[in-house]
Amino acid sequence: MNDRVSSGALLDVRDLRTEFTTGGGVVRAVDGVSWDVRAGETVALVGESGCGKSVSALSIMGLVARPAGRVAGGQILFKGRDLLELPEDDMRRIRGREIAMVFQEPMTSLNPVLTVGRQITEACEIHLGHTEAQARARAIEVLRLVGIPDAERRLRQYPHQFSGGMRQRLMIAIALSCSPDLILADEPTTALDVTIQAQILDLMKELSRSFGAATLIITHNLGVVARYADRVNVMYAGRIVERGTAREIYANPRHPYTLGLLRSVPRLDEPKRERLDPIQGQPPDLTRLPRGCAFAPRCAFAIERCRAEAPPLQSVGGSHLSACWVAQDLPQRSALSPQPSGDGEEIPSSRAQRGISR
């Protein structure tokens, strides 16, 4: 893993709170969350749908759907400036130029009636003042980078002429076109076939490395996390429940929710297990969160205190944090399911360097 020397956080999210007003009441989608991304590093935000991870990314971009949603508090420090305090036009200049986003749905995230060339070049024209010819040259360059052959011809085509995986490459090309410092990738591979997933993730990893861009990868898939992230934040019901390096999270999860996530992931590099163990129960209703730990109703390890008092996020060893009263009493992962002797480096290597076409 590339543990770089910390040069101060590129993005520092502090106590972020984002709320939505719905018919059923106020939903605290992100409820006092803090985390950071250092320059060049890949950080993962992991959790089930509706846990607030996508909303976190949209909050950073200033794209939370109004008027239902709003950022209710906290700070988002990017290169030292609080994005929440910026006037809209300054924020607009940052979007696409310094922070770019890759969305979950490549099928619907591209405009069906514009050529892909138009959709790639427009950001460069606006942010970098490129002329049409310059922007076009740049578009061809990024298309090649993301592995789309025959770029000149492809630029004149429309999104529906591309497959799902190709469209996600287009989204990445758009994100990269202005060489941003930070890429927010919201479930970039969820809508794609498994074989394509690995290609896209490898591509993103390689490109962000060569561009020196930091990446925030948002996913529900811990398999993705293990392979691509340096550090991991696990979110549940709008809060961070565990944080650590990918190695720590994978080898020594200290939150029952993380444990559950790990046990429900099928692995290609392991002998077939009898069955997966999904987490019991449903994610909680965010308008009616329990008083104590939000995960307690689904937790096999819950004690009396869990239902009475929400646990704070605290260290369970170095930089490894967990919000759980029984963090130290949780079983080791190997005790839960037979694993090949864990040295922590459990990256599914069989498909690691496959795919990326150059």
Partner: protein
């Protein structure tokens, strides 16, 4: 696909509490004030129509040559027409005509459209093709000709008028209902019902119809205003309700234009009544559509 790696992807959703109809009404009023205003006017109009004999100051048909073209005043609040008939009384009684024709045509039109739409979607294939062709033909047929022909063939009575007015509604409604029904048609439970050997009628009535209720209600309410407007136009042309019946469109006909300069109240108030009624129905219908199915476009 990645379904195996997905972990219980269930959106957090507030469990629906059981609500009484009063709660529903109050909630509608709070969230859609414009719609509530529209509904209030509609209710008021219905009350006026029901109590017309009690609240109308004059007999709407009583001719009084002594009071011809009297301007609005203490005796006749909204003035009188060329026969000395009280304009206010005629407007009050006219609401009966408007409501009967409006509700009648809207109900018949949208129901017939719904039946055709659901049937067309359910049976599919050749039936669907033929029904669609017929709908195309009727949609492109000039409305006024249909109305003229119907009235000429069937005679100039209120039920015939209502039937003539449904002509433009049926194909439009059928089109919308059909597309809703098509998606229901694809539901597994319809296949299951067929496999279980239920009759067509039972499947359509028990499974398909309940699922197209929302677009049906939306079309019905949007037709209400249109029907009142259409009735006014037809009556204005002399093709609709006949004298001496009190009807708003009829009040605007002939003398109202002739005496426009000397007796503008004759043209002003019936037109206001039409506009207010249609306005109210549209306000209510719009809000209902937003509440029931925000994605449905009805123009």
């Amino acid at each position: 696909m990645t379904t195996t790696t997905d972990i219980a992807i269930v959106e957090a959703e507030a469990p629906e509490r059981r609500r009484g109809w009063l709660d529903v009404v109050l909630d509608f009023c709070r969230r859609r004030p414009l719609g509530a205003i529209g509904a209030a006017i509609v209710v008021l109009m219905i009350l006026v129509a029901l109590t017309a004999p009690m609240i109308a100051p004059y007999d709407p048909l009583a001719i009084d040559f002594a009071a011809m073209l009297a301007p609005p005043g203490a005796d006749h609040w909204l003035g009188t027409d060329a026969y000395g008939r009280d304009v206010l009384s005629r407007i009050i009684y006219g609401s009966q005509t408007a409501l009967i024709v409006g509700f009648g045509a809207a109900f018949v039109g949208s129901t017939a459209g719904a039946v055709l739409g659901v049937g067309s979607a359910y049976f599919g294939g050749r039936v669907d093709l033929i029904v669609q062709r017929f709908m195309d033909i009727f949609i492109s047929f000039p409305l006024i000709i249909l109305a003229l022909a119907m009235v000429a063939i069937l005679g100039n009575t209120l039920p015939n008028l209502i039937i003539a007015m449904t002509a433009p509604m049926v194909p439009r409604c059928a089109l919308v209902i059909r597309s809703s029904a098509l998606s229901v048609r694809e539901m597994p439970y319809v296949d299951a019902a067929r496999a279980a050997g239920f009759s067509h009628a039972r499947i359509i009535l028990r499974h398909m119809l309940p699922n197209v209720m929302a677009p049906y209600l939306i079309m019905l309410t949007s037709f209400l205003g249109q029907a009142i407007l259409l009735e006014a136009s037809l009556s204005f042309l002399g093709l609709g309700v006949q004298e001496p019946t009190a009807a708003w469109g009829l009040m605007l006909r002939g003398a109202a234009v002739e005496f426009a300069e000397t007796a503008p109240w004759m043209a002003l108030f019936p037109g206001l009544a039409i506009s207010l009624a249609v306005f109210a129905f549209n306000l209510f219908g719009d809000s209902l559509r937003d509440a029931l199915d925000p994605k449905l476009r009805t123009g």
